[in-house]
Subunit: 156 residues, 2 copies
Amino acid sequence: MNRKDPAALHEECCAITRALTQIGDWWSLMIVREAMLGTRRFSDFQQALGIARNILCNRLNRLVDAGVLNRVETDEAGRRPEYRLTEKGRDLFVALTALRQWGDKWILTDRPPLALRDRHSGRPVRPVQVLDADGEPLSLHQVMIDEDEAVNARLP
Amino acid sequence: MNRKDPAALHEECCAITRALTQIGDWWSLMIVREAMLGTRRFSDFQQALGIARNILCNRLNRLVDAGVLNRVETDEAGRRPEYRLTEKGRDLFVALTALRQWGDKWILTDRPPLALRDRHSGRPVRPVQVLDADGEPLSLHQVMIDEDEAVNARLP
DNA sequence: GCAGATGGTTTCAATTTGAAACCATGGACG
DNA sequence: CGTCCATGGTTTCAAATTGAAACCATCTGC
């Protein structure tokens, strides 16, 4: 599997590989994170992230091509376009929240954990978990990849 | 925030940023994914991923330094070391599962979804969600970052 | 019309990557 | 013992990617 060969990657059937190909580099993920905080404009991304402008431009285009962001031409002052999360982009919320919680638990060990709250009730959100059909949490070793589908789809 | 400045990044209090700094590049995440499938040896990672050997070596060392993998000197044939997931590494299971499900849902739209099953019951696992204190799913806009903590910790 | 803000592109040096060659160690086998 | 081969690295060097800065284009406000 060659990371730089688009055709080969497009044949790749591991969902993680495919996902990482679309959004799995530092800046793309940081941009999505920033977008989830409400940032929409080129210069706002640039200042918030401290990213080089050519790289920002490149990543925004990639994310638009991937359908994660939408480039919206606003009619407002200056005709500045906005970059807004699509449904697909918003759906990364779960993965990024899991990542945030992982970082809180394993890296920022000396700080107050879990500042994420339900806006409505004000109560903290639960740690994200993988649950079985009954809602019981599953660990890595309790999960398997379906044999048939795995073979058919050349997983992992 | 300069991505290449270790000191500055170490001050960074966004858990996502910190997490991405430790494991947020293509190969590191692919290696962790591969390790979750049971791969442990240098050459097995190399063949499974098609990664250059020097890069693999570099990433394995980084992951060991980050405490995501453990380098275990085995007594077996050839004294070949093994790289095994630590508790911290296994804990990435949730985030990677969320990413896999995202890829299944939004990229591999033409294929059978969700090959992940509970090994015990054989039933498919649920889609990972962010849940409130009562176990109700929360979307991006229903979640907020706690004001006080955000200010104290200079979040996001 | 002119200055400033904003969104982008170009340019070029510095860093990172990847392929291949090289090295070192530990069996296996004759 | 000596040779071969597998494995886990390291080194080397060309090619790709990144990042800082300069440049360009459009729109606003004055």
